[in-house]
C-alpha cells in the first residue's frame, strides 16, 4: 500500500523534471558562460581591491545559495513533518549535499580572497565563521538523515534538525557578529566587500543567477536519483 502512495507524487515529479531538464541545463551553461565572461574577462573598475574583487563574484553568490539551500531544507522539513509530503524527504536528501558544497566553495574562496587582502588564509571574521557553522549544520543534516537503517526515520529526524537549525541560524549569526566585534584588534577588518558599483553588479548577478540555475538543476537530478533509490529499496524489501 505504501508503494502506491509513494509513487503518486514522485511519478509526476519525474515527468516534470525530465521535461524541464534539457532547457534548464542549457540555460545554466549559458548563464555560466556569460557570468564567467563578465567575471573574468571584463576589466574591473579602479579600486583598492583591484583584481581580487573577481573572487567575490563566486564567493558571494555561493554564500547566498548555501543560505537559500538551508532555508529550502527547513521548508522541506516542515512539509514532511506537517503534511507528510513524501517527495519532501527525498528532495531534502538530494538538496543537502548541494547546499553543503556551495558552503564549502564559499569558505574556500573566502579563504583565498583573504590571503591577498589580509595576508592570512583564514580570518575569524563574523561572516566566514557563521558560514563555517552553517557548513557544520549541513554536515549534521546529511549525517543524521543517513544514520538510520530505516530511511524514513532518518528523513524525519533530519527534518526536525533543519527546522531547529533555521531558528538557530539568526541566533548563531548574532552571537558570532558580537563575538567578532569583541575580539577585534584595533584595525577594523572589513571583509564585507566593496560598495556596490554598477560594473561589479553585472558579473555578480550573472554568477548568482547561474549558481541558482545550477542549484536547481542539481537538486532535480539528485531528487530523481533518490526516487529511484527509494523504489529500489522498496523492491528489495518486497521481494
Amino acid at each position: 500500500m505504501a508503494d502506491l502512495h509513494f509513487l503518486a507524487n514522485p511519478a509526476r515529479f519525474r515527468r516534470f523534471s525530465q521535461r524541464v531538464m534539457p532547457s534548464l541545463a542549457f540555460a545554466t551553461v549559458l548563464a555560466l558562460l556569460v557570468g564567467l565572461y563578465f567575471a573574468l574577462v571584463q576589466s574591473p573598475p579602479d579600486y583598492q581591491q583591484g583584481e581580487t574583487v573577481r573572487i567575490m563574484f563566486v564567493h558571494v553568490p555561493s554564500a547566498w545559495l548555501s543560505m537559500m539551500g538551508y532555508a529550502l531544507l527547513a521548508g522541506l522539513g516542515a512539509s514532511l513533518l506537517v503534511w507528510r509530503h513524501p517527495l519532501a524527504a527525498l528532495m531534502a536528501r538530494a538538496a543537502a549535499p548541494v547546499g553543503a558544497c556551495f558552503a564549502l566553495v564559499c569558505l574556500i574562496t573566502g579563504s583565498l580572497w583573504g590571503r591577498p587582502m589580509w595576508g592570512t588564509y583564514w580570518v575569524w571574521d563574523a561572516r566566514l565563521t557563521s558560514m563555517l557553522l552553517l557548513f557544520f549544520l549541513y554536515l549534521g543534516h546529511i549525517a543524521l538523515s543517513r544514520a538510520y537503517d530505516d530511511a524514513d526515520r532518518g528523513d524525519r529526524a533530519a527534518a526536525i534538525l533543519a527546522l531547529v537549525g533555521v531558528i538557530n541560524l539568526p541566533i548563531i549569526k548574532f552571537s558570532v557578529d558580537w563575538w567578532n566585534t569583541l575580539h577585534q584588534p584595533a584595525s577594523v577588518m572589513k571583509l564585507g566587500g566593496p560598495s556596490i558599483h554598477p560594473a561589479i553588479l553585472t558579473p555578480l548577478l550573472w554568477m548568482a543567477v547561474s549558481f541558482l540555475l545550477l542549484f536547481i538543476l542539481l537538486v532535480l537530478v539528485r531528487t530523481e536519483t533518490e526516487i529511484d533509490r527509494r523504489r529500489l529499496e522498496i523492491a528489495e524489501q518486497g521481494a
Binding site: E51, L112, W113, V221, R229, R231, L232, A239
Partner: protein, 54 residues
C-alpha cells in the same frame, strides 16, 4: 598585481572542481540508479501480479 592572479585562478578552479565534481557525481549517480531500476523494476510488476494471484 599578477601574483594575485594565482588566488583568482585558484578560486575559480575550486569552483569548477567542487561544483563540477558534484554535477558529475550527481549525473552518474542518477544514471546508475536508473540502470539498476531498469534491470530490476521491470521484473517487479510481474512479481506483484504473481503474488496477488496466489
Amino acid at each position: 598585481m599578477s601574483d594575485h592572479a594565482v588566488f583568482i585562478l585558484s578560486a575559480y578552479l575550486v569552483v569548477v572542481v567542487v561544483l563540477g565534481g558534484l554535477t558529475i557525481a550527481s549525473l552518474s549517480g542518477r544514471n546508475k540508479a536508473r540502470r539498476e531500476l531498469a534491470a530490476r523494476g521491470l521484473e517487479r510488476p510481474r512479481e506483484q501480479r504473481a503474488k496477488a494471484s496466489r
